[in-house]
Amino acid sequence: MPNVNKNWLQGVVGFGLALLAVATRADELNMTQGVTAISRAVYDLHMLIFWVCVVSGIGVFGMMAWSLINHRKSRGHAAAQFHESTQMEILWTLIPVLILIGMAFPATQVLIQMYDTGGEDMTVEVRGYQWRWQYKYLDDDYNSTFGFFSSLTTPIDQRHNRTVKGENYLLEVDNPLRIPINRKVRFLVTSEDVIHAWWVPDFGIKRDAVPGMLNELWTIVEEPGIYRGQCTELCGKDHGFMPIVVEALPEAEYDAWYAQRLELEAARKQALSQTFSADELMAQGEEIYNTFCTSCHMPNGKGVPPVFPPLDGSDIATGPRRADHFAIVINGKTGTAMQAFGRQLDAAQLAAVIHYERHAWSNNAGDIIQPSDIVEFMSGQQ
C-alpha cells in the first residue's frame, strides 16, 4: 500500500513539474495574441474557455482521483450501493447550463464585431489558386487597379533536405501582400479552382476561399511588421506549400509603394505590345516556369508521369502546331490538374513561358513567341 501512495505522489510531482515546464514556455505553446483588437479579443475568449475547462477538469479529475485512491477494494473499502440522486442530476445539469450561458455572451459580442465589415478604407481581393494566392487591389468601384501572385519561394533543395533550411522555411513568398497599418482593410476572399482557406493567425481571421462565392473579412493592423500564415483547407498536392505573407507598412510608406505599383502597372500594359529577343523570352520564361509550372512538370521538364506529363520531348511543346500549345496553357485541361493560365498570366508572361517550354531542355521548336501572338490567339478564341 505505501508503494501505491508513493507512485501517486511521484505522479503528482511529475505532473506539477511538467506543468511548470509548460508554463515557462507558455508563449510558444499557446495561441498568439496577435496584433489586432479582434485577435486579442479572440485570445481572451480562448483563455476564458480554457480556464473554464481547467477548473471543471480539476473538479472531475479530482473526484475521480480521490475515488481511485481511497475507494479501492485493496484498501478494504466496501462498496456503497446508492445509485441515483435526482437532486445531483439537476444540479450538474443546471450549473453547466449557467456556465455556458455565461460563455455565450462574450463569444456573441466578439462574433458580431468580426462581422462588422462596413466602413473600410480599402479593399483587397484574395483569390486562391492551386497552389498560390493572388491579391488584387480594388478601387472604389471594385475594379482591379493592379494585382499580383504570391508564391512560395523556399527552394526545392531545402524541401528535399539537400541544403540547410532557412528561418522562414515554407513561410516565405515572392510578393507579400502589402497593407497599411491603422486603416480598415477589407478582404474579399474567393477561389479559382478548389476550396482554400486564407488565414493570418496574428490578425485572428480565417476564411475559406470557395469558388463561386465571395467571403468578407476585415482587419485593422496596429503594428508594422511581417505576418505569416498558411492555407488551411486541403486543396490538393501542394496544400502545404502556399503560405500567406502580409507586410503591414506605416501609412506613408504604404502610399509610396502603392503609387509605385500603379506606375509599374502602366509599364506592364505597355509591354504587351513590345517584341522581345529569344534570350529575353527564355530568361523571363524560366522565371515564370519556376514559379507556376515546376511543382507538377518538375524543373527538368520530366513531369511525374502519369499524372503530370513531361514537357521535355512532348509533341505539344515541340510540334509545329503552336496553337495546341497555346490552347493547353491558356485554357488548361478539364479533368486534370492543368489550370487555365490565361486567367493568371498576362500575354507577355504567357509568351515568355510558352517560348521557354518550347526551347528548354532538349526541346527546340525553332520558333519565337511574342506577346502579340498570344493576344491574337486569345482574340481569335473569343
Partner: protein, 534 residues
C-alpha cells in the same frame, strides 16, 4: 407457438458450427458473425494504423523524407476512411452481434441471413477502396471529408471506385442497423423492459437509429458526386450553377451524427464495465438513457460547426455555436454519472477497468477541447489546425478505440471461455495510455502555434512537437501488436474462465456458461431483478 416450431428449435440446439471455411462464409450465427466483424475490424485497424505511421514518419522532421505530397494525401485520406468505416464502426457492430442477443435474452439476431450479407459486403468494399491505391492515378487523396470540387472535378479517376465502395459500406451499415433495431425491439425476453435493458443495448438502439437516418444522406452525397463527375450535372460545381458549400452541408449532416455513431456505443460499454469493477450499480441509469437520447437529438442540429469558416450569415453561426455548446450538458451528465459510480465503490483495476477509466479521463479532455472549438470566434483560430486533429483523436482513440479494447478484455473470457494474461493486459494498457498521450497531447500545442492539418511538410517552429508526436505514434502503434498477441494467447492457452468471470458482473450474458454455447437462450430466460441493470 406450434409444436413443429418447437421441434425445429430443439434440432438447432444440437448442432454446432459447420466445419471449415463454409462455417464463416455461410454462417447466420450472431456469434460467428460478431467474430468475423471483430477480426475484420482489427485487420483494418492494422492497415489504417500503418498508414498513420507512414504519415507520422514523414512528419518526424521538416522536409520531405519518405513520400511525396501526392502519396501523403492518399495516406491521410485512407487512414481516416479506413479507421472510421473499417475499424471503429465494424468493431462496434461486431460487439453488438456478440452481445445484444445475449444481453436481451434472444436466441440470435432478428434477421440472421441479412446479418451474413451485411458483414460479407465489407471485405469487398474495402478491397475495392484499397485497390485504388495501386492504380495508375492513385487512390482518394482529398481527405476523408472529400470536399467538392477537390473530390469531383479535381479528383483522380479512381474516385468512382471510392464512391462505389462507400455505397457498399453504407448498404452494409443500413442492414446492420435495421437488424439491431429489429432485434432489440422484438426479441427481448419477457420481463426485459426497455428501461431494464443494459446501457450497451440502449446506446446501440439509439446509434442504430442514427445510422438509419444518416447513411442514406451519405449515399445521396456520393451519388451527386457521381453525377457531377460522369453525367454532366453541377450539384457542387459553381461554374454550372451549383454550390460547393452545399456539399459540406450534406456531408456534415451525415458526418456529425456519424461522430456520435462512433462514440455512443462506447458510452454503453463503459457504463457496463465501470459498475462491475466498482462493485456498485451504475449511477443515474435513467439520466444516462436520457443523456444519450439528447446527444443523439442534438447531433442533428449542430453540423455546421464543422464549417464555421465557410462564410455563413451571422445568425447561422450563432445558432450552431449555441446548439454545439449545449452538447456539453448531456455529455457532462454522463461523465458525472461515471465518476459517481466509482465514488465510494470498491474498485479493482483489471485491464478492462483500466481502459474504461482512461476512457473517462481522456474522453473528457477531448470533450473540453470540443467545447473550446464550439466558441465560434476562437474556432477561427483552431479550425483545420492540429488542435482539431488532437481534439478528434482524443475522442476517437482513447475514446472509441479504448472502449472497444476494454470490451474485448471484458467479454473475451465469456466468448472463448478462457482468461487473458492479466500482466500482459496491463502492460498493453500502460503502453497504449502513454503512447496515445505522447502522440496527441503535443498536437494541441502545434495547432495553437498555427500548424495546419493535412500538410506533408511544415515550418521549423513546429519541429519539436511533431517529433514527439511521431515517437508516441510508434509506441502506440507497435503496442497494438501486443494486443493481438494477448488475444491469440488467450484463445490458445488461457486458463479456464468461470461463468460469471468477474466478481460483480451483472447481466444475462454472465448467467451463461463460459465459453458460451453456439446457441443460447433458445428458450427465453426469466429476468430476475439481480440481472436487470439495477
Amino acid at each position: 407457438m406450434s409444436e413443429a416450431v418447437v421441434e425445429v428449435h430443439a434440432d438447432h440446439a444440437d448442432h454446432g458450427p459447420a466445419k471449415g471455411l463454409t462455417r464463416w462464409l455461410f454462417t447466420t450465427n450472431h456469434k460467428d458473425i460478431g467474430t468475423l466483424y471483430l477480426w475484420f475490424s482489427f485487420l483494418m485497424f492494422l492497415i489504417g494504423g500503418t498508414m498513420a505511421l507512414i504519415v507520422r514518419a514523414e512528419l518526424f522532421q521538416p522536409g520531405m523524407q519518405f513520400v511525396q505530397p501526392e502519396f501523403f494525401n492518399q495516406m491521410t485520406t485512407n487512414h481516416g476512411l479506413i479507421m472510421v468505416f473499417g475499424a471503429i464502426m465494424p468493431a462496434f457492430v461486431g460487439l453488438a452481434n456478440w452481445l445484444l442477443p445475449m444481453m436481451v435474452g434472444a436466441p440470435d439476431m432478428a434477421l440472421p441471413r441479412m446479418n451474413n450479407l451485411s458483414f460479407w459486403i465489407l471485405p469487398f468494399a474495402f478491397s475495392l477502396m484499397i485497390s485504388t491505391l495501386f492504380m495508375e492515378e492513385g487512390g482518394p487523396n482529398f481527405g476523408w471529408t472529400f470536399y467538392a470540387p477537390l473530390s469531383t472535378e479535381y479528383a483522380p479517376d479512381t474516385v468512382t471506385f471510392f464512391i462505389f465502395s462507400l455505397h457498399m459500406i453504407g448498404a452494409s451499415s443500413i442492414m446492420g442497423s435495421i437488424n439491431i433495431i429489429a432485434t432489440i425491439l422484438n426479441m427481448r425476453a419477457p420481463g426485459m423492459t426497455l428501461m431494464r435493458m443494459p446501457l450497451f443495448v440502449w446506446t446501440w438502439l439509439i446509434t442504430a437509429y442514427l445510422l438509419l437516418a444518416v447513411m442514406p444522406v451519405l449515399a445521396g452525397a456520393v451519388t451527386m458526386m457521381l453525377f457531377d463527375i460522369h453525367f454532366g450535372t453541377s450539384f457542387f460545381n459553381a461554374a454550372g450553377g451549383g454550390d460547393p458549400v452545399m456539399f459540406q452541408h450534406i456531408f456534415w449532416f451525415f458526418g456529425h451524427p456519424e461522430v456520435y455513431i462512433m462514440i455512443l456505443p462506447a458510452f454503453g460499454i463503459v457504463s457496463q464495465i465501470i459498475p462491475t469493477f466498482s462493485r456498485k450499480p451504475l449511477f443515474g441509469y435513467d439520466s444516462m438513457v436520457y443523456a444519450v437520447a439528447s446527444i443523439a437529438f442534438l447531433s442533428f442540429i449542430v453540423w455546421a460547426h464543422h464549417m464555421f469558416t465557410v462564410g455563413m450569415p451571422i445568425a447561422g453561426q450563432l445558432f450552431f455555436m449555441y446548439s454545439t455548446m449545449l452538447i456539453a450538458v448531456p455529455t457532462g451528465v454522463k461523465v458525472f454519472n461515471w465518476v459517481s459510480t466509482m465514488w465510494r465503490g470498491s474498485i479493482t483495476f483489471e485491464t478492462p477497468m483500466l481502459f474504461a477509466i482512461a476512457f473517462v479521463a481522456l474522453f473528457t479532455i477531448g470533450g473540453f477541447s470540443g467545447l473550446m472549438l464550439a466558441i465560434t470566434p476562437a474556432d477561427y483560430q483552431y479550425h483545420d489546425t492540429y488542435f482539431v486533429v488532437a481534439h478528434f483523436h482524443y475522442v476517437l482513440v482513447p475514446g472509441a478505440l479504448f472502449s472497444i479494447i476494454a470490451a474485448v478484455y471484458y467479454w473475451l473470457p465469456k466468448w472463448c471461455g478462457k482468461m487473458y494474461d492479466e500482466s500482459l493486459g496491463k502492460l498493453h494498457f500502460w503502453l497504449s495510455f502513454i503512447g496515445v498521450n505522447i502522440t496527441f497531447f503535443p498536437q494541441h500545442f502545434s495547432g495553437l502555434a498555427g500548424m495546419p492539418r493535412r500538410i506533408p511538410d511544415y515550418a521549423l517552429q513546429f519541429a519539436d512537437f511533431n517529433m514527439v508526436s511521431s515517437i508516441g505514434a510508434y509506441i502506440f502503434g507497435f503496442s497494438q501488436l501486443l494486443f493481438l498477441y494477448v488475444v491469440i494467447k488467450t484463445i490458445r492457452s488461457g486458463r479456464p474462465a468461470t461463468a460469471r468471470v468477474w466478481e460483480a458482473a451483472h447481466g444475462l450474458e454472465w448467467t451463461l456458461p463460459s465459453p458460451v454455447p453456439y446457441h443460447t437462450f433458445t428458450t427465453p430466460p426469466k429476468i430476475t431483478e439481480a440481472e436487470a441493470h439495477s
